[in-house]
């Protein structure tokens, strides 16, 4: 918050300007009401040749399609503004993931009848979710206004729902741990079971948050980001819980230890598989995951996972310590994955060529690198089967309808205008 002076000339910092006319309802000098001074031009009246042609909307639509679908030629950036999120956000993603994963584990422990481990897992989850609000607030441009996130309930915005999920999850987690401490295990178990519903969103919405942006890398991975983040969450949560339980004296060979090992391995294998699958279909947009610092982090994370999996395979000769090292590997790899995904998004947003090609629907496997063959499709007159074309049109419409319906059902009257919107039209004066 250093640098130039941002004090407004009128009003207060961050508030609407507080000025009023000397006389209520007074005219602004030279003003003509209802934008008569504007509509529509002061130069090009009917006596000029500016718009001397009849309106032909079909011709306009035709030339629009031709020009927007024509070969692009050089791209003059910038097309997108890069995300402004700093180091706190990926760290928060990681913490939230660990919390979700541990919560899943705690409920599974309860189901299997190991209530002592479940109580410890709940504490791990609460410990992981505790720094999350602080991290989120630190990243805000105006940290003092964090509570503005909760001034509305807006199902359409993943960040708004995520903030609510964070509040709900931390509240229920605190209640469950409190019930544990007060010696009310049944209450703790009930709250724990209910919190899975919120925890599922907390662990997965981060992927949705990234996918609902215009950044090519994230938007193109929209169906993969959520599942990938969930896998990381489950693996890191299980790893953290496992380490905590071992420290608390969970004996070797206990079913909980076995199960945690299975979850770690399964989730990380799934993560690796989904990531590799996604990489293959990203095309040009995937370059940002391969180059620079994000690329190095991504590769390091993948090698961390591979090392962990290898240590699990050879654990018999090496014994339990090898498995502890594997758990630490998973935790570190999870963190590196988060930083890689967020960092790569920033690079991807600045890759003007990738942005332009995604807009033309041409980011495919066959134009992977900069030198690849440039296959361009028209905006809407792509040569696709008729059915597919109809589907292409119907699908976004379906998505929009579903989104609106969900919002209407969930949001209801919670959506109110920010300011008291009197919104009077300009008065005739």
């Amino acid at each position: 918050m250093t640098g130039r002076d941002v004090t407004p000339a009128l009003g207060t910092h961050g508030g609407p300007a507080d000025w009023r006319r000397a006389r209520p309802g007074a005219r602004v000098a030279l003003q003509r009401a209802r934008w008569e001074d504007a509509a529509w031009s002061f130069l090009y009246k009917d006596d000029t040749r500016y718009g001397a042609a009849p309106v032909d909307m079909d011709a306009v639509a035709q030339v629009n399609r031709r020009m927007r679908g024509a070969p692009a030629g050089p791209v003059h950036g910038p097309l997108l503004n890069a995300p402004v999120w700093t180091w706190e956000i990926p760290l928060y993603f990681w913490c939230g993931g660990v919390a979700t994963g541990s919560w899943f584990v705690s409920v599974a422990c309860d189901l299997a009848g190991d209530h002592r481990s479940a109580a410890i897992a709940r504490k791990v989850a609460l410990g992981a979710v505790a720094p999350s609000p602080a991290l989120l607030i630190a990243d805000l441009g105006r940290p003092g206004r964090f509570l503005n996130m909760l001034r509305i309930f807006k199902p359409r915005s993943p960040m708004n729902l995520g903030a609510w999920a964070l509040v709900g999850f931390s509240g229920l987690a605190t209640a469950a741990v409190g019930a544990d401490l007060l010696g009310r295990p049944r209450a703790a178990r009930a709250i724990g079971g209910a919190n899975v519903v919120i925890g599922g969103y907390l662990g997965s919405y981060t992927g949705v948050l990234l996918a609902t942006t215009a950044v090519p890398l994230w938007a193109r991975s929209r169906l993969f980001l959520g599942p990938i983040f969930v896998c990381t969450a489950a693996a890191t949560g299980a790893a953290a819980t496992r380490l905590a339980l071992v420290a608390a004296g969970l004996p070797v060979g206990h079913p909980t230890r076995t199960a945690l090992g299975t979850i770690e391995t399964g989730a990380m294998t799934g993560e690796l598989l989904l990531s590799s699958l996604n990489e293959r279909r990203l095309g040009r947009a995937g370059l940002s995951l391969e180059q620079g610092t994000p690329g190095r982090l991504f590769r390091a994370a993948k090698w961390g996972v591979r090392l962990g999996l290898a240590l699990r395979l050879v654990r018999r000769p090496l014994g339990p310590p090898a498995h502890h090292v594997a758990s630490v590997c998973y935790l570190a790899a999870g963190l590196a994955f988060r930083y890689a995904w967020v960092g790569a998004g920033k690079v991807s947003a600045q890759d003007d060529e990738a942005v332009a090609r995604m807009a033309r629907g041409a980011v495919t496997v066959d134009d992977r690198a900069t030198g690849g063959p440039r296959r361009r499709r028209l905006v809407s007159s792509a040569r696709t089967p008729r059915g597919a074309k109809r589907l292409q049109r119907a699908y976004p419409e379906l998505v929009r309808r579903a989104s609106l319906l969900a919002e209407r059902l969930l949001g209801g009257s919670g959506l109110t205008a920010g300011r008291s919107g009197t919104g009077a039209p300009p008065a005739e004066r």
Binding site: A38, A53, A112, Y205, A219, R222, M358
Partner: protein, 337 residues
């Protein structure tokens, strides 16, 4: 005309109609009066001028948190790159593309320096287009969908306005804008973008940029009237032989619409990428949120179920047997007690 979704956070007024901008690049002279007028009216700070910012003669860069109108210089000579004029005078920066006419004149007067074809260089300068870029006030606005605080609202004029007293600077609207318009101010901490001079509109005044534009390249008015004017202008240009003139953001068939139709649309003569505009765009939130949430939440529930299965399977496995496993069996039973 497509109207904004009824569930948006919006101000409604009975008699209000959709207002917009029509920016005609064929009459823009690149004077940047709109930028100055915008900064003055909206009390925006200067960004600091630097010549050849972004490898162009354009010295104000791009749209940002404190630049709500930006006149983009589109140098179309030499396949979209700057005219490749060798620097004259020596040492002033190699291949910079700057043409130092004073030095050229001095060298000519001294009878030296014939290597630069001044006439051609000056002619190349004519291969420019100027485009006054601004927030598009989309019908399907990504920033508005993303905003978690409700700071971004739809006004009664169907424009998208950021309430600076609500914004907490979360930064989500920045990547959610498919046109790279919204940005977060580093010093101020909040996002900023064009309001289509909402305060002026409420008083029946046209926006500051449109008021200041000396060639009426920026035209303001009721949306339907503007589309009508723009379509007539396209027809007139076609009749004069400018066959590549087209509208960016208006007059499309429903399937081709950009973000449901742009409240601020443009008349362009080159492919959109030349102006830093995407050929197709929509609100990324509306496009992706349902599919992505279904995939993500489904995966989360599957993972939770998988964890439960792993535990139940492990619990059914027999404990270590025989005298050797005795100590372990005791330890395992001891844990749960």
């Amino acid at each position: 005309m497509t109207r904004a979704s009824p569930t948006e956070i919006a101000i409604h007024a009975p008699a209000a109609q959709r207002m917009g901008f029509f920016t005609d690049t064929t009459v823009c002279i690149g004077c940047k009066a709109c930028e100055v007028a915008c900064k003055q009216w909206n009390d925006l700070p200067a960004d600091g001028a630097r010549l050849r910012k972004g490898a162009s003669y354009d010295h104000t860069g791009a749209l940002g948190a404190s630049t709500w109108r930006h006149v983009r210089f589109v140098e179309i000579a030499d396949g979209g790159h700057l005219p490749d004029i060798p620097a004259v005078g020596g040492g002033r920066g190699e291949q910079s593309g700057d043409l130092d006419l004073v030095t050229v004149a001095a060298q000519r007067a001294n009878g030296a320096g014939g290597e630069v074809d001044v006439a051609a260089a000056v002619a190349a300068m004519d291969d420019w287009i100027f485009m006054s870029d601004v927030c598009k006030h989309c019908t399907n606005a990504g920033c508005l969908d993303a905003c978690p605080t409700g700071a971004l609202i739809r006004t009664e004029f169907e424009t998208v306005v950021l309430q600076a007293d609500v914004c907490n600077g979360c930064g989500y609207c920045v990547p959610a804008c498919p046109f790279g318009v919204v940005a977060r101010d580093h010093d101020d901490g909040r996002a900023g973008k064009c309001t289509l001079c909402y305060d002026r509109l409420r008083d029946g005044l046209e926006p500051a940029c449109a008021k200041a534009c000396p060639t009426d390249s920026i035209q303001f008015g009721p949306y339907d009237e503007l589309v009508d004017v723009a379509a007539r202008r396209v027809g007139a240009l076609h009749a004069r032989g400018v066959e590549d003139a087209y509208l960016y953001g208006a007059g499309d068939e429903p399937a081709d619409e950009l973000a449901g139709g742009l409240g601020a649309f443009f008349l362009l003569t080159e492919p959109p990428e030349r102006y830093g505009l995407p050929a197709q765009a929509d609100s990324p939130v509306q496009e992706n949120v349902v599919a992505a949430t279904a995939a993500a939440y489904g995966a989360a529930l599957l993972t939770a179920a998988g964890a439960a299965v792993a535990f139940l399977a492990a619990a059914r496995r027999p404990l270590p047997r025989g005298p050797r496993g005795l100590a372990r069996r005791r330890a395992i039973r001891g844990w749960s007690r």
